[in-house]
């Protein structure tokens, strides 16, 4: 794999892998401790609607997917904060409708047949310079937000009722976490694809949670573990000519299995 590093696409792939791994490690930690995995899954799949619309109207895919995903995040945040009754039904609905919109817009796009698979399962070897800028900016934004508001985010995640009694704006931070999840999902689509993104957001985080004594260390350990999985996954993908996103997920899942076996109490 070393000789592959001379290719620009491989350098981009590795860099994208690290940026996305750390973003998803940090945001995945927040998703897990706030029990939002299903919400994040809904947002990920809904963003396909944005991809379809971007293709049809001819604007950048990242922009379309981001706008659509953030819209879905705001909708889901409003629904969950307003009433928790049958919230899972509505998320399932948004999930399916988003994907349906995407498929229909791609059908309507004349003459041009997009490679659907690359969005569903990722295309890390086709990361452009623009993509890298977008990923780096988002990671910077996430780092700024979680360090500046760490104490508030921690309070809301651990005990939201108490946090609101202490004057923390719970709605604001809940919505903020969902919006950051939406943006993270969008950059992770490039690496593992929107179907597999949920595994990227959860497997490294699950392992890191068991090894951490604070949310802060959990976030960065998750990022490190995710980077390792991405690196090993990419190596498999390159060596055996396999789909990169799927390779990364299989490596992650296998490692999780080994971790569970090792840490299992006798």
């Amino acid at each position: 794999m070393i000789e592959a590093l001379q290719f620009e696409f491989m350098q981009h792939a590795l860099l994208a892998g690290f940026l996305v791994s750390f973003a998803s490690g940090i945001i995945g930690s927040l998703i897990i401790v706030n029990r939002m995995v299903f919400l994040a899954g809904g947002i990920a799949h809904t963003s396909y609607g944005g991809i379809g619309m971007a293709v049809y109207f001819g604007f950048p895919i990242f922009l379309g997917a981001s706008l659509f995903a953030v819209g879905a995040a705001l909708l889901i945040a409003t629904l969950t904060l307003k009433s928790r009754h049958r919230i899972d039904t509505f998320i399932g609905l948004i999930w399916a409708v988003g994907m349906a919109i995407g498929v229909i817009f791609i059908d309507l796009t004349p003459g041009y047949n997009v490679d659907l698979m690359s969005y569903l399962f990722g295309s890390i070897l086709a990361v452009s310079r623009m993509d890298l800028y977008f990923m780096a900016t988002l990671l910077g934004l996430i780092l700024l937000i979680v360090t500046f508001w760490y104490r508030d985010i921690l309070a809301v995640s651990y005990d939201s009722e108490y946090a609101s009694l202490r004057g923390v704006n719970v709605r604001f931070f809940y919505t903020l976490i969902l919006i950051l999840s939406a943006l993270t999902v969008v950059i992770a689509i490039k690496v593992v694809g929107l179907i597999l993104v949920i595994a990227m957001l959860t497997i490294p985080v699950y392992i890191a949670e068991k090894l951490s004594s604070s949310l802060f260390s959990m976030m960065f350990l998750s990022g490190g573990i995710a980077s390792l999985f991405t690196l090993v996954g990419l190596w498999f993908s390159y060596t055996y000519n396999l789909t990169s996103g799927a390779s990364i997920i299989i490596v992650s899942a296998f490692s999780l299995g080994v971790f569970l076996l090792i840490t299992k109490k006798p």
Partner: protein
């Protein structure tokens, strides 16, 4: 000025009335026990005091202001502290959640906030556990941490919802001894099911079951004739006490049924 003053308060969820025409006055340094059956409105009353629910009929003032405006001076220990025990958070971080918003450094916590949190932990006897993960503590230890979190604001009023529901009997005693010590500095309101224990420590009792009946129980011997010794501790007979305290007027306090009493 009374610490809490409730006048003719009624409260209903949707159409079902939970509290009806409640009047209550809590003076400074009182130790008030709120007792009563499940679904009788005890927790609802606490949530009204904390401004979590808003009311339509009646009036509540806490420390001279509306509940929401006094939040900074109220310490609160919520009911179930065994939730979220997998959460990767250190004891000291939980305690620091107690600080109110307002002045804060750009990142992290101020030195004064850390010192204050350590002080609160030491006060509840948990100073050595500051760097432990919250999930590694026992139920009683975790409850102490939650009390420390409430002390972080140096409150004038401390409100606890079922503080000993998941703790063994020795742990319960320890928590109440701690509250007794804290009571020299602040007013305490406790909702509790352990009536036999709580009534030994409290000087006022309010029985809430839609209506509220209020009793001054500071003089235990003249109030309760059901006080007797069985096993290790002196205790009260719960059934008689509940019947007694649930009555609208105080006749039953003055003329108790002597069936189980051993004191004159």
């Amino acid at each position: 000025m009374p610490v809490v003053e409730i006048k003719n308060l009624s409260f209903a969820y949707e159409k079902q009335e939970v509290l009806e025409d409640i009047t209550l006055k809590v003076e400074a340094k009182d130790f008030l026990a709120i007792i009563g059956p499940n679904g009788g409105g005890k927790s609802t009353l606490l949530k009204l005091l904390l401004g979590i629910y808003s009311y339509k009929k009646g009036e509540i003032t806490v420390l001279g202001k509306s509940p929401l405006k006094s939040l900074g001076r109220i310490g609160y220990v919520p009911q179930d502290t065994n939730v979220n025990t997998d959460f990767p958070i250190k004891v000291i971080e939980v305690v620091m959640m107690g600080h109110t918003q307002g002045k804060r450094p750009l990142f992290g916590y101020a030195k004064s906030e850390i010192l204050c949190a350590m002080g609160a932990l030491t006060q509840v006897g948990m100073g050595d556990f500051a760097q432990h993960k919250i999930g590694a503590l026992s139920g009683g230890q975790r409850q102490r941490v939650m009390i420390a979190r409430a002390l972080c604001t140096s409150p004038q009023l401390l409100i606890l919802d079922e503080p000993t529901s998941s703790i063994d009997i020795t742990g319960q005693r320890e928590i109440y001894e701690l509250l007794k010590a804290l009571n020299t500095q602040m007013t305490i309101i406790v909702v509790s099911h352990d009536i036999s224990v709580i009534l030994e420590y409290a000087n006022k009792a309010a029985h809430v079951n839609k209506n509220l009946s209020y009793h001054d129980i500071s003089d235990k011997n003249s109030t309760f004739h059901t006080h007797h010794t069985h096993g290790k501790y002196e205790h009260f007979c719960e059934i008689e006490l509940l019947q007694m305290l649930g009555k609208q007027n105080c006749e039953s306090c003055e003329e108790p049924q002597n069936r189980w009493s051993i004191k004159p």
